[in-house]
């Protein structure tokens, strides 16, 4: 194993750096500007059972050290993702990819995951439970331990690949939800998804985002993410993928010390499309600076 390699749910990654879903498309457009095979892996654009356009624009608002997005899971639906997007991805990315899945009903998650589980290039299923449950009064699956566990059980029943549950930070007790997912059979936990935020335009005196609210991400949320990764990784035995405002190689080390086995990079890709490449190339330097021989040895080491 290399100095930067880590093992995520039985699959070895050359390094722990993973572009987060929704910030990297299906990879092939980034492959035009650098060789994306240098990544640990990447999590592709959130996929749903049916095609979605998403929310009206404006979908983006700037914040101090971050941004709010309300894209609304725009994607062509699982059938088209498998038929059109994954073949294009396969031409430029030769590692196992993480398939990110969203749904608005338990059955939707199971349907989409079952399809993607059969794709050879998919290594992990990352199940985003932050979406509203249309059969549960619109409450997000990820805000209730029972609802999150129900999604995990339904997905595990129809899949064979590792299931990583991506948790929302917009909850009172993230540990209870993580533990419920673990008990329901989840193979890993990834966190944090974006935090609910809002901006108001002083000129129009209206919300900046057409959808009023959206997901806040970027360096501003990094301390919250580190705290939640620390809490969850100390409460569960399954691996944790840390994310939330990670922008530098130093941030990667900090996340791993908090307990992350691998680290996703989101908003940073949108500001600098070369962000993940730069982080990976900078990791050996910061490892040496902080006298770290092997990244896998520092996981949860704080």
């Amino acid at each position: 194993m290399g100095k930067m390699s880590v093992n995520l749910c039985g699959i070895e990654l050359d390094n722990p750096v993973i572009p987060a879903s929704g910030t990297f498309g299906y990879g092939y457009e980034f492959a035009e500007i650098y060789d994306i095979n240098l990544l640990g892996t990447f999590s592709f654009k959130g996929t749903t059972k049916d095609p979605r356009f998403g929310n009206p624009t404006p979908r983006i608002a700037e914040c101090t050290a971050g941004m709010i997005n309300a894209v609304g899971l725009q994607n062509p639906g699982v059938e088209k993702v498998i038929a059109e997007e994954l073949p294009k991805m396969r031409k430029v990315f030769h590692k196992k990819v993480m398939a990110n899945v969203s749904g608005f009903a338990v059955a939707d998650y199971a349907y989409t995951c079952e399809k993607l589980d059969k794709c050879e290039e998919v290594g992990w299923l990352e199940v985003n439970v932050s979406c509203p449950n249309v059969h549960g009064g619109g409450m997000s699956f990820g805000t209730s331990p029972e609802a999150a566990a129900e999604v995990v059980r339904a997905v595990k029943a129809v899949t064979t690949k590792p299931v990583i549950v991506k948790l929302s930070p917009n909850v009172t007790d993230i540990v209870a939800i993580a533990k419920a997912c673990e008990e329901a059979g989840a193979d890993g936990i990834s966190l944090i998804n974006t935090m609910l935020g809002m901006r108001i335009d002083l000129k129009t005196k209206k919300p900046v985002i057409a959808n009023t609210m959206g997901g806040f991400s970027g360096p501003a949320i990094f301390p919250v993410a580190v705290r939640m990764v620390y809490q969850v990784s100390h409460a569960v035995k399954i691996p944790v993928v840390g994310m939330g405002g990670v922008s530098t190689a130093e941030d990667v080390l900090e996340m791993m010390l908090a307990g992350a086995t691998a680290v996703e990079v989101g908003a940073a890709n949108l500001v600098d499309p070369f962000a993940c490449k730069k982080i990976i190339e900078d990791l050996p330097r910061v490892m040496e600076k902080y006298k770290i021989n092997s990244l896998s040895e520092i996981i949860g080491g704080c």
Partner: protein, 245 residues
């Protein structure tokens, strides 16, 4: 798309609120008129997308309106300072569809991308006519730049303080053209869509996240499916456009 460090060679005021900035650096990825560059500014998280006014072998020139924190910061910058910029963004105008007498219609800060377009059309032997629309005389910029290209340059002001009184669509009625290109505020684009007698291309503006196609922040619906203004646009052909709201 390329990332580069650019040095400011000029940053001057054209009107009370419109500035012209020339940046020296690697411009090799700017391949079409109607493309934009995306500028990173100290202390601001997201880049600022600004359309290309002109380019030569070693520099790119932009014209921007000071409307918020980012452009205010740009206005304060001086010659010799550097900026981290992504270049070669957006599809740009397709010249291959142009007729012999294309009409170029710009409104306010929608005017700048038409300049490089006009130069390219002239280089291909076309005879463009340009219509520049502004609210009032004091807001006019770039008229001399277009005149210096030797093309018919018509200015329209909404208050009639200079040139044709009215909107670009009023000036458009009297002109002879076989294709058109436009960039400007959405109400102007809608008016041109209704008034135009030929096919043409429209450059759109939308609040962007990344500017390079990754975040889907600036998506719109078109006849040919969902498109990202930043990557699949900002230029759409008339027959692709679906107006919403």
């Amino acid at each position: 798309m390329k990332q580069g460090i650019f040095t400011i060679a000029e940053n001057i005021a054209l009107t009370d609120s419109v500035m012209k900035m020339t940046l020296v650096g690697d411009v090799s990825d700017i391949t079409a008129s109607g493309q934009f560059i995306n500028i990173l500014l100290d202390g601001l998280y997201l880049r600022r997308p600004i359309s290309v006014f002109d380019r030569d072998e070693s520099s790119v020139t932009i014209i921007y309106k000071v409307v918020g924190k980012g452009t205010e910061k740009m206005k304060q910058m001086t010659v010799g300072e550097t900026l981290d910029i992504l270049t070669g963004l957006g599809n740009g105008y397709d010249l291959s569809l142009s007729g012999e007498k294309p009409l170029l219609l710009g409104g306010g800060v929608g005017v700048p991308p038409l300049y490089l377009l006009a130069k390219k059309l002239i280089a291909e032997g076309k005879t463009p006519t340009v219509v520049l629309g502004f609210n009032t005389k004091s807001e006019i910029f770039c008229e001399e730049d277009f005149q210096a290209l030797g093309i018919t340059t018509v200015v329209a002001t909404a208050d009639g303080s200079y040139g044709v009184k009215g909107f670009v669509t009023d000036a458009m009625k009297t002109l002879d053209y076989d294709y058109f290109y436009t960039c400007g505020p959405e109400p102007m684009l809608r008016a041109i869509y209704s008034a135009a007698k030929t096919e043409g291309q429209f450059s759109f503006e939308e609040r962007m996240g990344c500017g390079s196609g990754a975040c889907m922040g600036c998506s719109c619906k078109t006849v040919t499916g969902y498109k990202r203004i930043c990557k699949d646009g900002p230029v759409l052909r008339k027959e692709e456009i679906l107006w919403e709201k």
